[in-house]
């Protein structure tokens, strides 16, 4: 008997096939790992299972019965539980209150607490999840907060449990404890879906491993047939180099120098550990790495003022640590942000306004303090033409554009500001093929014009096709650098998992 079978699941978003004929099953008493690069479609699949998205086609069967999961409430009622990466807890509430929240029992309007407390204690003992029920959640360390999340799911009678990167926030000791719990749950016949980037952990705990790439299942492996290089290869796929016309590199002087950056997260983990790198004029430096290894922190240290434990960031041999974002932009740092909606665009503002954002305070867009809208619009029309942004007019609000055109708008803006250093973070995420190619051309163009380009991307193909040099970031440091000619996908992919030696 299978506990869960998802068959032929397809989900299309504008411009992207997030899931394409995905088939996935889960037996009782099994831990099934789901691995793949960011954007490969794991999260979409799990959101479909949890009722957050409706699939365009495909079926879901629970215990051999076809079901249509309408929403998360429905999913929970059918015994599907999700432990989110970002906890869904009410910090000032006690552990007990958090667990029963949404499933409270009452007598004449008065909350019943003893009975649930007994029941939860029993669940805790059975699964090796001790937590003080009276403690306030905000006082607990992350590992215990996660236990509360798991208890919430178990208290609702989940048989299928989804764990979305549960180890990302844990210390190694906490991971050991979590895996003990995993095994106990498995032994009770529950089915666990384990999403993770960390291949060691996957190999440690999973019974089966399904690899997803670009919305499709590449392969489902038994634990016995799986190995780290094999999974890494399946994850990144056979080299598919997008065609990029790139003249030979002519690197010039060092533009960006990052020296021994050390930074801790608010929780005290080291997120950057003595990270150093250099990017020269006329060079694209690609940062390869599994997401969450310090890429975002590095980008922030270059583009905005952040608190560092030690280290220095230099632009043309001058330390920029004390500069705020405006100064950095004024001195020539361009930035394509990783999340264009959250950081890159004022969505209700017009294209013209968005195209000058960041330089709106300087001539020719202002005279004194007065904004020169005519100039701004003329500039916008030029940019639309030159960067082939598809829009009815320069006054159209940014939210009305397609994702690809929004990204072209950002690339156009940052390129036209003529920076000396361009930091491009996930420049083609969620962007259609046409726009992707165009953005690649622009990055190469920037390089030809003698700019230093730092490319950060979760897409290894992209990094390998574009970069002159590739640095692999792992746990907050650059563990190895490759020149483009010597980098193979297998080697870099393996290196991303923390293996320094080539296989």
């Amino acid at each position: 008997m299978t506990l869960l079978k998802m068959d032929g699941i397809t989900k299309v978003f504008p411009g992207v096939r997030a899931n394409d004929q995905v088939t996935f099953d889960l037996a009782p008493g099994e831990i099934h790992a789901l691995v793949g690069e960011n954007g490969a479609g794991k999260t979409t699949l799990m959101k479909i299972l949890y009722g957050l998205y409706r699939p365009d086609s495909g079926t879901i069967r629970l215990r051999d019965q076809a079901v249509a999961i309408k929403n998360p409430r429905d999913a929970i009622a059918r015994g599907i539980g999700m432990v989110h990466q970002h906890f869904m807890l009410v910090p000032p509430f006690s552990v007990l209150e958090n667990i029963i929240l949404g499933k409270e029992s009452q007598t004449a309007g008065v909350l019943r607490l003893e009975e649930p407390a007994r029941e939860i204690t029993e669940i805790m003992n059975r699964n090796g999840l001790p937590v003080d029920l009276t403690a306030r959640v905000e006082d607990l360390p992350v590992g215990l907060q996660q236990r509360v999340e798991i208890l919430k799911v178990l208290y609702r009678g989940a048989e299928v449990l989804v764990f979305d990167e549960p180890t990302a926030v844990l210390t190694p000791q906490e991971v050991v404890e979590l895996f003990k719990t995993f095994r106990m749950m498995r032994d009770q016949g529950k089915g666990l879906i384990f999403i993770s980037h960390k291949l060691d952990e996957v190999l440690d705990i999973a019974d089966r491993i399904t690899v997803i790439r670009r919305g499709q299942v590449v392969k489902t492996l038994l634990r016995a047939e799986a190995s780290k290089p094999l999974i890494a290869e399946l994850m990144v796929g056979k080299p598919v180099f997008l065609h990029v016309d790139k003249p030979p590199a002519a690197p010039g002087a060092v533009i960006l120098e990052v020296r021994g950056l050390r930074q801790r997260s608010p929780r005290g983990h080291l997120v950057l550990e003595d990270l150093s790198l250099e990017v020269r004029a006329g060079e694209i430096y690609g940062l390869a790495g599994v997401e969450g290894n310090g890429q975002s922190e590095l980008v922030r240290a270059i583009t905005e003022a952040v608190r560092l434990e030690s280290g220095d960031v230099l632009l043309e041999e001058q330390s920029i640590l004390a500069w705020d974002v405006r100064t950095r932009r004024d001195r020539g740092i361009g930035h394509i942000p990783e999340d264009r909606h959250r950081y890159g665009l004022l969505l209700p503002f017009s294209l013209a306004e968005n195209l000058v954002l960041g330089r709106h305070h300087r001539s020719p867009f202002v005279r004194g303090s007065v904004v020169d809208f005519a100039r701004m619009r003329a500039y916008a029309r030029e940019s639309i033409e030159k960067y082939d942004i598809r829009t009815p007019s320069e006054l159209t609000p940014a939210h009305a554009l397609s994702g690809g055109n929004q990204q072209k708008l950002i690339v156009a803006r940052e390129m036209r500001f003529d920076p000396i250093l361009l930091v491009a973070s996930q420049p083609t995420r969620g962007v259609d093929v046409g726009a992707t190619e165009f953005i690649y051309q622009q990055l190469v163009e920037a390089r030809s014009r003698g700019k230093a380009v730092l490319l950060v991307s979760a897409d290894l193909d992209e990094v390998l096709s574009l970069s002159d040099r590739i640095g692999v970031i792992f746990k907050g440091r650059i563990i190895r650098e490759f020149r483009q000619e010597e980098a193979t996908k297998e080697q870099v992919g393996l290196c991303m998992t923390g293996e320094k030696r080539s296989a």
């Binding site: 974002v325 942000p337 004022l346 969505l347 503002f349 709106h360 007065v370 598809r390 009815p392 006054l395």
Partner: protein
Amino acid sequence: MRKTKSKYRVLETLSPILGVLASVLVLLVIAMIIGEMPGKTLNAIYKFTLASASRLSTIFSVAIPLFLAGLAVAVAFQANVFNIGVEGQYFVGGLVGAMAGIYLRLPVYLHLPVVVLASMAGGALWAAIPALLKVRMGIHEVITTIMFNNIAAALVNFLVNGPLSGRGEKSLEPQTLKIQSTALFGKLNHWFNAIGLKVPKHVYLDYSLIVAIVMGFLVWFLLYRLRQGFEIRAVGTSLEVSQYAGIRVKRVQMTAFLASGSLAGLIGLQEIFAIRGVYTFEIAAGLGFDGIAIALIGGNSPVGVIFSSVLFAFFKQAGYGLQLYTAVPNAIIYVISGLMILFIVVINEVTTRYIRALRRKEAA
């Protein structure tokens, strides 16, 4: 493009009108339940609002401080600052202005601008403390400004009863000394009469109208023509995007907060300098809170606030009409104002989504 744009415009302007009509409908239903026929209710409203030049011009007179209140709140809202303290800021601003009017000896042409500027300074001063607490310490302005409203009320009460009381003035209520004639606001009624608009003598269309018009224009210019206004609107749209773009968010919010406080300081001008000629603790309270509703209905834009403040004034006057001519209590107007906000916000949201969908179709 032009054509489609005007199509959206029509929808955008239609939505608040629908909200107003819906709330009037509810008013009529409530009045019927109380036992008044719709005809009588409407007649009562008509008599007190539109029936005569006196009534009509009174609406505009009442709208002046409401407009300034709405404008004050709107400027802050544009930068995502919730200045709930307009109430306290105009009490303090009015007092500082009145002090300048009482104790400074200046010729008219200087005294008038000085009291206006003093009122603005007073309002800005009272806004400065919560503003600093917000940008320096991250303390939310809603909490501090509400507390500062209470502190302002107590402070002003104390000052007017104590150190600044006009002992010797004959009055039942505690008040300051009389404001000097050089600082008093005259009426503009004869101007209106000269261009053929009939404004009776007793209606206050005074110099504060000029102040309101100038401020309305300045705020519009700030928001839509100056770089600082662009940044205010950017910060109000997204803090994260603004930070990414290098906008100095704290400075921008501080600016908007102080601008809001300065405008708030002007709310009392009409009552203090035109109507009473003296500062008392009895100057109309609650205008700061009306300003929140007016800003919301006016979509936080100066032009929108013109309409919403006149609308608010209309309903205020309508309330008196109902009180006088029907069994419907005056207080019902508060219910209707509340409903109006609700209707307008909901209808506005629905049309905004609809327009967004249309635009997307157009761009695709």
